[in-house]
Amino acid sequence: MGADVPLEPAVLDDVIQPGPRVSAPEIAMRAIVKRYGTVVADDGVDFDLHPGEIHALLGENGAGKTTLMKILFGMVRPDSGQILVDGDEVQFKSPRDALARRIGMVHQHFMLVPQFTVAENVVLGSKPSWDMNLRRGDIENDVRAVGEKFGIRIDPGQRVATLPIDVQQRVEILKLLYRGATTLILDEPTAALGPAEIEQLFVSLRDLSASGHSVVIITHKLSEVMAIADRVTVLRQGKVVKVAARGSFNAEDLAVAMVGHAIREVTSTPRGSDDEGATLDVRELVVTGDKGHVAVDRVSFGVRAGEIVGVAGVEGNGQVELAQALSGLRRPAAGSLVIGGRDMTSADPRTLHRNGVSIITEDRLRWDLIPDLTVAENLALSSVASGGYARAGLLRRRAMRGAAERLMDEYGIQPPIPLLPAGSLSGGNQQKLVLARELSRNPRVLVVAQPTRGLDVAASEFVHRRLLQLREENCAILLFSLDLAELLALSDRIIVLYRGRIAHQGDVRDLTTTDVARAMAGMSGAA
């Protein structure tokens, strides 16, 4: 029948009372290493999870949080390291193995069959298909019973497609509880939720925690850590930089831990500047995000020729939407954007391009490069779009190749073969390719996001030097970066976005890491 949900009451009785936990960790991950090609996702990570705690795994995108948890859930095999569950060393080959040890994960994108009912989704895959009772009434009763036991009330007969996103999330959680999971891993669980729904999710999670379940929340939002976490582990670039229990962390510490301390390696000499005579002038700009919310809220700033303005902020505070609005990819809802004295508020990428605006996005394979085309074709792409390299209707392929060879040499793109598909280059070389194309146009304005994400030190330094050189050539540069060190090293001025507004701004000479970190954490009136 499947009515008896395999849950040992003993587990529940054990940890009914909250309080300081001195128990041994129920899950211990030791020295976990996972590499993808040359990129190290997790670099010797230790992670402990105690029974009944809500543990936030905090870090920027690419810090290795999700990979670490996918390893714990058996979806990804680590290159080295140990996983101990209740003291036994385990080697999970698949999520099935992890579930057998009562570990379950809710992914950022739900894995539900929209046409099925809640009950069908919950039961699906919990048993071999030949052993499954699919009588509707039976499974609905089972699922309802489990839901009531954990205070998750959903009508099991409803079709998932008709449910709002937060209820679908509860179905995912219920699915894991039905399978007997006592450790729940939630990957960015609040990404799609509104404030009220987030509050409700947190209530459910506290209930689960009180009944002995341990919860891992993967997040990059400080406010959530502050709201719910009993303990937090902060990852940066694949390493644990901080582990702290409630009471011994605050938002400011966490922000600094997450983004890193500023070390000025490339020394730019910041120049005092203000918005007067700005080449790129943004006034009262309002931009809506994908979910229809106001992502950028009446933001005003200017970037002058020969100046780098850095945009700081914890991920998801409107940077992407602002950058897209400035690139012509997202039409602003209100406000104005003036470039070189001309109104470009709703210009398309083509018009911006023709007016000397270069864009380098944070996702080069998605927006900047066409991996299937050759390096030479990619380098020539924007010229071709504005009528370059054409003679009598034909492409001047030899000229394209020659230009590509020169640029590849100048930017040190390896291997120096113009006819390779761009997708076959390494990440660093792809980024150099994008820089080579955009910078060789001598742009008047450059909007660049995360120019060194995923690059090694040498490649990052190269990119930094190029940006500074471009600044010397009087380009107005707006630099979006999640790496505070990078911003402080390159920018003349910094603006900090928090919830779509400029929370703080100033000349980089007057700013400290702490000021910026506080502003990023939403503490207004930075010291």
């Binding site: 690139s327 066409i370 299937d372």
Partner: protein
Amino acid sequence: MSVTDEVQPRAALRQPSRWELPFGSIATSIASLLAALVLTGIVILVLGANPIQAYGAILSGALGNPYNTGLTLMVATPLILTGLAAAIPFSARVWNIGGEGQLYAGAIASVLVALTFTGLGAVPLTILSIACGILAGGFWGAIGGALRVFAGANEVIVTLMLNFVALTVADYVITGPWAQNISPQTRNIPKGVTLPTIWPHTAVDLGLILAVIAAGIVFVLMRRTPLGLAIRACGFNPDAARLAGFSLGSIIMTAFAIGGACAGLAGAILVIGVNRALVPDISANYGYIGIAVALIAGLRPLWILPGALLFAIITVGGNNLTASSNISTSVSLIIEAIFVIFLLAFRVIRLQEATS
């Protein structure tokens, strides 16, 4: 083209999928063909005939003597052109299912021109008639493209529906003022308006040369011109193409227009060279088979030539099945259908490998 920019971003939110284009390798096509032959062989066995014999019958029916070979080449001619009509928009990752309608548009235009401007000399009238067929096909294709670009309509549905519109117009032309009144067709076009036979005593005329030239032009267009680079860029990664400053809307419109022009030429060739009038069913589903041709050729213009020939062989040779193996000619349709299904199935398998 700000209008598309409004339409694009939603669709653009998905990840660029590397597997979608081009449509697989030639090896996949050959494997699919072999698999289809094996599976159809089982069907033939069940029908009580010898598969080897049946396939032999298809080959000899298609290529056994000069006359049959000529027929096969005659059928391959429009398939080359409708294959191009599908391949060009497909390369821009928009789906032209309207080859059939674009072919009819070309046929209608060329027959009307040939029947109207009889005062011109035979050769100028032939050229004018073909040119108008090409233009009409291109125009019909551009309508589908425009509805996609400016109205955000699904181009699959729009181009498919436009096929029925073109077919209905053809019915009107056949039964209307230009009707012949003896058999259901238009009056014959003037005697001198014709495509010369290039292989004596067969049905092979200049149309075949025109089709091969068209494939060559499309090859140059796709690989050697800025427009071709724009079309490929748009197909591989529309987001990046747009950010690089290309106007996706005009690329899509142009791809549809050029594709339609190829199908229009097929229609003109069928009228002027083969039928000498607009007749009902002037296209034996050439527009739709062209889609399969484009797919098995992996959208490569020059591979469309052997691809079209292959489908022509199966189609023409299939007529020989009843006579020699006593099974229905529709077995050839089974081969074609299973072939395409295998092709698509191999794609899915590759997709799963790519994502796992």
